[in-house]
């Protein structure tokens, strides 16, 4: 794996970091979080103008053709800024599915994302299973002229912000396997309960009751759907690892600054060795997690070992993230448990990431079942 970036990619990364530093500080973010919609169309437009939304889409779709490492760098910025706009859902989770569909609808959605007009929510989780993406109980029945979707989807992130919802279903005829549909959020038969999430974003419980869609709404079906969902999980985990690294780096930096300025017992907190050693451990966890995130980013397109690499990364980075953010709160003292400093919000986002795309325990189990050894190559 090489860490050389093209001029375009370098400019994009710097442009994004500068933009977020300038326009997405704690107060600006709070204003967005507590607004009615919970996201900023203006920020979204600027992300499109910067080229961020098109980063990982092909040139044919108007994108920059970036891969896992570019995605990682953008997600690091997303994590450090605690971005609530649906970048991850649209470009990473939804994008992974759209890039694997040959349908004209998918193509127009990809182009729409790059242009800044399309935002996605991916409805794949269900209330009856905590993590079983390959076995949806939501069902698609063939009708004259199209399909009818029935089922319930759980904790669908950013659904209230989305222009389109991608839904995973099984087909009524078992041998037809799985299918992924693009659905209009306002279609008749969709009942949505929107709510705020602890990380400052929004999510929804969605019931599909006899929702009619036409044939063109099928993006991917059968075995292609299985492999697209598997690829989506891998890309999502790699991206979440990048976001986690951004959170950890900022939590560590904020903690270093706080302990440098805050004085107790006549000395800066950072003069106490027990706190110094805690921060050294936080830095070690952060640097190691970053290295693991780069490894995961390099493995997203690997034909072998991808799923194991992702499980190992999610497990390791997830535990590092918990360690670093919990201790960042601890070292901020009482200020760490207020709503007023970014640190509490970093901790809340970290807590959500832990349960996204499989918990530590889930991935430990998956590695145990695979029962083969992990290596770097």
């Amino acid at each position: 794996m090489k860490f050389c970036f093209t001029e375009d990619q370098r400019l994009l990364q710097e442009g994004l970091a500068d933009f977020l530093a300038d326009r997405y500080d704690h107060a600006a973010r709070n204003a967005i979080v507590f607004s009615d919609s919970g996201w900023s169309p203006d920020i979204w437009r600027r992300l499109a103008d910067l080229g961020v939304l098109g980063l990982t889409f092909d040139a044919a779709d108007g994108g920059l053709g970036g891969g896992g490492v570019e995605q990682l760098l953008v997600m690091e910025s997303v994590g450090a800024a605690l971005l609530v706009e649906p970048y991850f859902q649209t470009c990473v989770v939804g994008g992974a599915l759209l890039r694997r569909s040959a349908s004209p609808r998918a193509e127009s959605l990809r182009k729409g994302i790059v242009a800044g007009d399309v935002r996605l929510a991916v409805a794949w989780q269900e209330p009856q299973a905590r993590f079983a993406p390959m076995a949806p109980s939501t069902i698609a029945k063939k009708t004259q002229g199209g399909f009818m979707i029935e089922g319930v989807k759980a904790v669908v992130a950013c659904a209230s912000m989305a222009t389109h919802i991608l839904v995973t279903t099984r087909m009524e005829n078992t041998s037809d396997g799985l299918a992924i549909f693009a659905v209009d959020p306002d279609a008749s038969g969709i009942e949505r309960r929107d709510y705020a999430t602890i990380d400052g974003s929004r999510a929804s419980e969605i019931r599909f009751s006899a929702v009619k869609v036409d044939h063109d709404a099928v993006l991917i079906s059968s075995l292609n759907a299985d492999s697209a969902i598997a690829a989506m999980l891998g890309e999502a985990i790699a991206a979440l690892c990048g976001e986690s690294v951004g959170i950890m780096k900022r939590a560590l930096m904020d903690t270093l600054r706080h302990t440098h300025h805050r004085r107790q017992f006549g000395a800066a907190l950072a003069d106490f060795q027990s706190l110094q050693h805690r921060m050294a451990d936080m830095a070690t966890a952060t640097a190691t997690a970053e290295a693991m995130a780069f490894h995961a980013a390099g493995m997203i397109a690997s034909p072998t070992g991808r799923d194991q690499a992702m499980s190992a990364a999610k497990l390791f980075v997830g535990e590092a993230l918990r360690f670093v953010t919990q201790n960042a709160v601890q070292l901020h003292g009482a200020m760490g448990i207020t709503d007023e400093l970014p640190i509490g919000h970093l901790f809340r986002r970290a807590t959500v990431i832990e349960s996204e795309f499989g918990t530590t325990a889930y991935h430990l189990r998956r590695l145990t079942e695979a029962a083969s050894d992990l290596t770097i190559t």
Binding site: L256, H277, A283, A287, E290, H295
Partner: protein, 406 residues
Amino acid sequence: MNNAVQSMTNVDDLTAFRCELRAFLDESLSVEMRSAPRTIMLLDTDMQQRWHRILAFRGWAVPGWPVEYGGTGWCAEKRNVLAEELVRANAPPLSPNLQMIGPVLYTFGTDNQKALHLGPLRMGETLWCQGYSEPEAGSDLAALRLSALRNGDDYVLNGQKLWTSYAHKADWMFCLVRTGSDGSTRRQSGISFLLVDMRTPGITVRPIRSIDGLHHLNEVFFADARVPLANRVGAENEGWAIAKFLLRHERGGVANSQYLRMRLLLVDALAAESPDDDGSGWMSQDGDFVHRRIRILVDLLALECLAQRTAQLGEDGQGDLRASMLKLRGSEIEQAIGELGLSCLGPYSRPDNSRHLKDPGIAAIGAKGGPEVMLNYLLGRAATIYGGSSEVQRNIIFRQIARSSS
């Protein structure tokens, strides 16, 4: 055999090389060598040096060194294949001092020093020991006092070194001495780096039995021991920079994941032959064992990723920071492997097998491989102490991150 500089990443070539290696190892690695008990060295250092010479004759003892000093010029992938296959075959590790004093000599040594020492070192003809710690200079290494006063063409050494591993077997010691006056502002200035022939009159080596009941450690006394000025590496009073350069290599060595994987293979072998608590199966299938083992594998992978990223970033001014992180994590993983091994032994953690380890002719009590696993659990406690204790590593890490945040 001398492979010229070659850069290759071709998968077929690597596969062919792996086959060549396996054939070589099958043929030249005896059963005794494969099963010889070891820590970071073989307990039987003579056997270790015999293996070193076999490997060196093939040109493979120091693959990562510059080609002009006997390195192979191979790409990282090919060196990695060699390291993997050596571990897989349970080949004896080579002396860790090889990768400490070697780089110091080819980076800072005089032409004479290189000519005199690099060849025998690479060929396994000389064994070195490290003279750093002293009674009043452990974690606080810069407090060292072993005095070296100029007298004619020599330094005259008086004082003591402590915790010197394998001083009783070594031909040479690389050693930090105090050559500067106490009036200097920094304790670090006034230290010089010397190469000391262990046969020098005035040097006495006394054994220290360690926590595993065996003899690895020593104290070394110097009474008017004369060392030629020509044996100094680098400038007088400026040895601290060399000492730190070497420590960085030592810390990298502790994080050597192939060594850690070899340790884990020994535990795996023991687990496959150790009954679980109720005798209904083997420890290798025990749920708790399996989970802990997977976590160690994930930690090992993360360590390798950190090492790889450190190598890719090169000297970005954070070399010390990352070397300390690698040492900290590597030593913790080594100890976790030790604990995993201990969990396989059950009641057989109790027998004292140190006599068997010293003399394989004496039968071991308990399962095959058990004594070595126990030895490594006990002596493994040293991993977070030597080469700069974990507490010292955390001090170094904090100093660096505090600097970069202000």
